[in-house]
Amino acid sequence: MPTKSRTSQKNRSVGPNIVRAWFDTVLNPLLSELAEERRELLAENWTWRFCRPRLLSMVPVRECIVAEARDNLDQFLTFHPEFRRFIDRHDRHVDSLFQTCRSFHRALTESEVLQEAYHRTTAELSQRTGRSVSDFFGAEPPENHLDVLAEYIVNRAAKLPHYYATAPLWNEYSEEFLRMRESAGVRPHWEATRTAGAELRRAVDDLSAHLKATRDDLSLEYDVPFVFQISPVEPKRR
């Protein structure tokens, strides 16, 4: 009797077991992912990747929940439908940021300023170090060299660790490369990306705040702690 059970579901109450499952499989993992998104957004590191184009650390909410727990998310949303709005807003802004990063990246790779700087800086460094241009890009084929630099510029990459093949080039010339964001054909894309990033950050903040408030209410109402068990900190002390 699907109709009857559907109707009566509204009247059913939630118990501590269900709240525990929501905490462990939906709310806590989601809050953790949102915290990571927030950290990167604050740093204006959009985690854009040109290879298999995506935002590494910013994904739609549903993808933050392991597949077998997505029914728990749906159940949570049945009882807390107000979250659909926050989630839709978050996911919409993730998509906007993705689109602006892609345009920003394209504007950079098509920019003559970047092409000129790439040829000049790699030639300079090559001459000084006696290494070939390919050495500064590791396993990336030459046709991807501009993409690598554009990705770093989009993400406002900081200094790279020594084990990155690109570290000698990027660490020496990053200021010059980052200034290209201000060049005529690129600046509008940079600004659009920053705007999209700021909007996503607000959406992340709102969703996180509401999730925390609901978690707090559920915890006190059903006497269920946010975290049930703390595992040992060191991975090896088992």
């Binding site: 993992p29 992912e33 392991v66 900081a158 084990y163 040992p232 900190v233 060191e234 991975p235 090896k236």
Partner: protein, 167 residues
């Protein structure tokens, strides 16, 4: 040289790549494996670059034994057999060298006997080999790290700090 924490992380990240795990599964496994220390996606990526760029990786049979055992209720242990199969294939590909370190050899030096009693056989063996090989030892073990930070003939670093450093 990889101590147990970084070694388990290495195998777990490889397992996730091989099984084409989605974002949520990756986060669940990595959080479980890293227990308590933040290891964001960007750090996972850096770790991968570090390992790809390293010519040789070293570990000990003791560390391997601990890692492949997995904790009873870990997320990875739910797929233990597949994890094991994928890990063994990686371990056999030759990049990671398993250096044996018999107890008799270790105990020939009294200081290592003491070290076994204090930190356990796995840590003592890892330190012994790092000294012999004069290599970088990556660990998650703060106690071990603070013991050997100064004055050691090898370099020891906490994995998450090393990944964030640009030195």
């Amino acid at each position: 040289m990889l101590d147990t924490g970084p070694l388990l992380t290495y195998l777990a990240v490889h397992y996730l790549d091989q099984t084409e795990a989605d974002t949520a599964r990756r986060s669940a496994v990595v959080q479980d494996v890293r227990r308590g220390s933040r290891f964001a996606k960007a750090e996972q990526e850096r770790f991968q670059v570090l390992l790809d760029r390293s010519e040789h990786l070293l570990t000990t049979p003791h560390a391997l034994c601990e890692v492949l055992k997995l904790r009873e209720h870990s997320v990875l242990s739910q797929d233990r057999e597949r994890f094991c199969r994928i890990s063994l294939k990686l371990l056999m590909d030759g990049k990671l060298k398993e250096v044996s370190c018999p107890l008799r050899e270790l105990c020939a030096d009294e200081a290592y006997g003491e070290l076994i009693c204090r930190f356990g056989l796995t840590d003592a063996a890892v330190v012994y080999l790092a000294e012999n090989e004069r290599c970088l030892l990556l660990t998650d073990d703060r106690k071990l790290y603070s013991t050997y930070t100064s004055g050691a003939v090898f370099e020891i670093r906490l994995l998450h700090e090393y990944l964030r450093s640009t030195e």
